[in-house]
């Protein structure tokens, strides 16, 4: 095959390899989505076509071999490859169409928001209970009695009652749970429980009790203290 055709193929291949294998490994970078890779490759292809068609000679050098390949005009040993491509293209189109039109047999995707926004009255509330060792200790006692069956004695979400619940009980030792939240957020979640979640939190799936029906507010504030202390986390504050 002529050089004018090999060069674009090599450039496209190199570009793909760079985007797929090199770029994600550069520190601070990340995996690139398939759709973005396709976009970059299309831009590269457009660049190649513009470059190759700048002059009449380069245009002929670029399109000529392509045209001869497709028409099978004096291509000699490439003839089997040409037939291969001519067969493969309709097969690929058919295969793609099948996958695009076949009805899904997967359950509906569930995009549950783990920490939805709380109602206005539960933002920025300060814990009214003084942070004394006694109160923290008492909070841990309440936690052991009411929360640990699901959230675990080690605050890791792995209590003996947790296994069947989906979504799983929150793991407070995980830095992406209570460490990211303010105390008033926890107050809201404990008070209203699973049934108090907004629709994006999928309240119908949560087993979290609505503790306001069973525990006084003061106990809930103490539990929050005990939870942070036991999980070795600090509440998020307004800096």
């Amino acid at each position: 095959m002529e050089r004018a055709l090999i060069r674009p193929i090599v450039i496209m291949g190199a570009m793909y390899a760079f985007l797929k294998f090199v770029l994600p490994n550069i520190p601070g970078s990340a995996e690139i989505p398939a759709s973005l890779i396709i976009l970059y490759l299309l831009l590269t292809l457009s660049g190649i076509i513009i470059f190759e068609t700048l002059s009449a000679e380069s245009k002929e050098a670029f399109w000529g071999p392509l045209q001869r390949f497709l028409t099978g005009d004096n291509i000699g040993r490439l003839q089997p490859l040409r037939y291969g491509i001519l067969v493969l293209f309709p097969v690929l189109v058919g295969w793609q169409t099948y996958h695009a039109t076949v009805p899904s047999d997967r359950p509906p995707a569930e995009n549950r928001v783990i920490h939805p926004a709380p109602p206005g009255e539960y933002t920025g509330l300060a814990n009214p209970v003084p942070k004394t060792p006694e109160n923290i200790m008492q909070g841990k006692g309440f936690y052991a009695a009411f929360c640990s069956p699901c959230h675990g004695a080690n605050f890791d979400g792995k209590g003996p009652a947790a296994r069947g619940y989906n979504p799983p009980p929150a793991n407070f030792a995980d830095p992406t749970t209570i460490a990211m939240l303010q105390e008033s957020y926890l107050f809201w979640r404990i008070k209203k429980g699973g049934v108090g979640l907004p629709i994006e939190g999928m309240p119908w799936k949560s087993a979290m009790p609505r503790w306001e029906l069973e525990l006084p507010d003061e106990w809930i504030w103490k539990i929050i203290m005990g939870e942070y202390d036991g999980a070795h986390q600090a509440p998020r504050t307004w800096e």
Binding site: T71, P90, V93, H99, P107, C150, V195, M202, W204, A207
Partner: protein
Amino acid sequence: MKPETVTKWLIRLGSTVALLAVLTGGAVDGVAQESGVVRAALVTGALPVDDPNATMWNNAAPTVFPMSPQVHWPERIQQVTVQDLTVRALHDGTQLAVLLEYEDPTEDPDDAAAIEFMVGDKKAHFAHGQPMLLVEGGPVNIWYWKSRDNKGVDLWAKGFGTLRPHEHQDVKAKGEYANGKWKVVFSRSLVTDHPDEDAQIMPGQFINIAFAVWDGRKDDAGQVIEKGSQKAVSSWWYFRAEPPPDYSGYVYAGVAAVLALGFQFVLIRKLKEGQSA
């Protein structure tokens, strides 16, 4: 053939290939995890509604669901006997049969099991469809079986304290105990005349399903340990009665392949005309 025409053709070709590639990429990203789904296999012949040991159950893939002690509302329970529930389902286009299997070391008259479905389009909380504070929920339909009576009870609930049997009892159930294991078959027609009270099962459609099990063993004082809200429960999972095979995808694929072939044919003919000109 003019180079401009070739360029136009190639751009079209390129965009088709790119579109296909994007579609492929999207399809790969969208694959969901297959867990927590009961698929009722479509079979022909009478369903084994009275026989938990029928060989026909081998046609249905089993799904295992983890169970938890019910802790959502009082009376709670901290420990339950049944840790896992294996579920299989079959349907014949009109009837549905669901087989629950679980280990229970003792056979007791108060042993019981239940299946729960949402009714209608509104989401219902898995705890008896209890009211949610910010979302308007719907009711649930519960199919209940108890060892003592060894029959199905068709129930309805929308919140705590609202559980009541239907006036119309459409559910059948039969349990058999052997080798430390309960096998219970529930059966009902896929659709009923009471869409406001019963779950309606349309083949191909995913609906929510949940389970509950009571070990009716008694403690030393003669009290049944697991009763009422003190039971093993599952969360909401998915259920689907498998639809009959749909071959339309092959037809669309065939049409698309023929179109692509025609496109190639026209392209090459145009190119050849250009060469000879």
